[in-house]
Symmetry: C2
Subunit: 433 residues, 2 copies
Amino acid sequence: MNQLWIKNGLFVTMDDTMPTVRGHMVITDDRITYIGAEVPNQLSPHTVIMDGSRLAFMPGLVNTHGHAAMTLLRGYSDDQKLQVWLEEKMWPMEAKYVDADTRAGSALAVVEMLKTGTTAFVDMYDRMDQVAQTVEQGGLRGILTRGVIGLCPEDVQKAKLEDALSFARDWNGKANGRITTLLSPHAPYTCPPAYIEKFVQAAHDMNLPLHTHMSETLAEVEQNVKEYGSRPVEHLDKLGFFSRPALVAHAVHLNDEEIALLAERGVAVSHNPVSNLKLASGIARVPDLLKAGVTVSLGTDSAASNNNLDLFEEIRLSALLHKGISGDPTAVPAWEALKLGTTYGAHAVWQGDSIGKLKEGYKADFVAINLDQPHFYPLTDIVSHLVYSGSGRDVLHVWVDGRQVVQDGVCTQLDEEKIKYEAAASFDRLLHG
Amino acid sequence: MNQLWIKNGLFVTMDDTMPTVRGHMVITDDRITYIGAEVPNQLSPHTVIMDGSRLAFMPGLVNTHGHAAMTLLRGYSDDQKLQVWLEEKMWPMEAKYVDADTRAGSALAVVEMLKTGTTAFVDMYDRMDQVAQTVEQGGLRGILTRGVIGLCPEDVQKAKLEDALSFARDWNGKANGRITTLLSPHAPYTCPPAYIEKFVQAAHDMNLPLHTHMSETLAEVEQNVKEYGSRPVEHLDKLGFFSRPALVAHAVHLNDEEIALLAERGVAVSHNPVSNLKLASGIARVPDLLKAGVTVSLGTDSAASNNNLDLFEEIRLSALLHKGISGDPTAVPAWEALKLGTTYGAHAVWQGDSIGKLKEGYKADFVAINLDQPHFYPLTDIVSHLVYSGSGRDVLHVWVDGRQVVQDGVCTQLDEEKIKYEAAASFDRLLHG
């Protein structure tokens, strides 16, 4: 049995019954076994003691939408019209990817996410074995899925579906349960209806949730209406998509009826504010979604449209943005914004009962924040400070499943120097190869 | 003579004729005396050589609007209606300030700004001697002004004006020219017209520029129309405000005619996107202002409405925000956003000929960014990376006037531990005293 006693820390639990605790937390193996103001008792004689003063502890962040391998394309194309960005820049480069590139990009993403406090992330891409192996090695949680674009001949469609199913089958529950899998037709505008139905059927057969891009741009919504006679939410609903547990990314352009339907069907949303701003897609109706009871979580999307994977930025922006847009300074308060990145993120990936809070019985997925920095002074309100003044650069240590995966800002399970070198080499090859 | 030769660095010059240079920079005393790809010649035999590889160098940032002393109130009140925030939270606490509090808050702000790459800042507050002394000691540049609220009896008005004038007179050009001064009636809605005219007259008499808050909220614009029969820009113009060099903060609610008049009068704007979002004031028409030829710069406003002083956040947000709002992904590209925080900032404080660029003959106010971090890989485009992926936490070293004021992330001229301790103690006294 391994036991860690963190003494005299400031704990941001994300639990409404006691939002912050000054006191103690005990980790026994992979679980939180005690958190409270009082000194714990019944500790093992071999318990490791850690001084928690000058640190704040909070649950690890959950990034609910991204494409890790695209981290290689960070900064390769900015400030462009979406079609130019996608068709002239992203797709030609992505077409050159081999396994080693996916591996290099994913490893770079995992290093960046871990160091900035993300302990679980959703990833949708191809060559997903590479991503899964990186997750296994890096020590974090991955909710992984082979994203499939269905604009191709039937035999190719069939092969892609089979690839998606075999990945989902092979990796679900692997890495001591840190990896779970989903099925993902890429988007309503890139997958014919009959093809989407095949994913829905497979999700039923394999008891898996579904993930897709939805209503990211206005043009896409209009095209859906023109082509299929309904907006994307109704369209996916008709195809049975929401008969499975489902997570949709973006959901920027929604009307009231669509919001009501998402709430009714229990669909979770991944809000990607930075990517949506950068690609000029618009701003999702987050306060309305929350009011309707929809689980809203946060995603970075890829580093090609962000261009970083620090989820604290999404947390801050979801607190700031909706105030400025609505004219209501009470819109998405700090505590709610922090939930988007933690507890709601955990619920969005169907792990709300085990991660996303510092709570007895929960998995020990948590981060330590270095409070001894000028931007955290005076220490008025830790929740406010984390949301409005903090950043992933303030993360000093990270634990997942009770194992320390970042120590003093350095990944303990991954060779950062090698990963940076290989990412640079891969990009160079993609550019000139 | 002191001379520093930085070898093999990546220099982001902010000069359109050669935006980035891989090569060398030489600092002689307080000036940049060489920058270029070739190895410099005619160096002094005592030149200090610094290895610039793995670092990027850029001009120090210019923060054109803030209230440093309010850093003590960071996180003291968030997610509140503006009037509650101001009248029930800010003003009662500010009323308790004594010199030591202003000093403590300003010193904390200066530490945070320096460490995140800001080398010059505009500050509008009272007890400005305290701020000026902190600037003198900290080694950065201050464009300082006693902000005056004129909603008070005539004798108090007179005393405040006199305080503002004597501060401006005493400190202009001090600290080897690092301190310059302005005159500042707080805002059209807090100063009667006749009182504003006194500041305008004094600015003419003393040959000083003017600074004020303007058109931050819609309510304030409407009130101006109701009370004075004109919108704030026309109102200030009639009072002669723009007959002096002028910098206005916020400028969120402007119509086309007002934008044209600001351009015609050569008025500079301080865009404060984070504060404007957080207080739900709205979003300034930055692309339209830039198109009209107005000098737009960036300000954090105070840490009570931000809640940090990292200007990289304003740079990133001014690149992201206007894309999402306008639907145009080419709005405010990265290079332009970086100019807002550097060259345009320098012009906004009338120092565009000496700071804001890495250029021969310019003052040696610059920062070194640690490139060896995962979020800067691959090193595709340094300008994109600084804007969309960087942060003030990436700043390793800072120089002002050729003197190194931050080394390996630590202020060389200030006692950070003492400053943090005193800030905490001051806040505690304000809260409980």
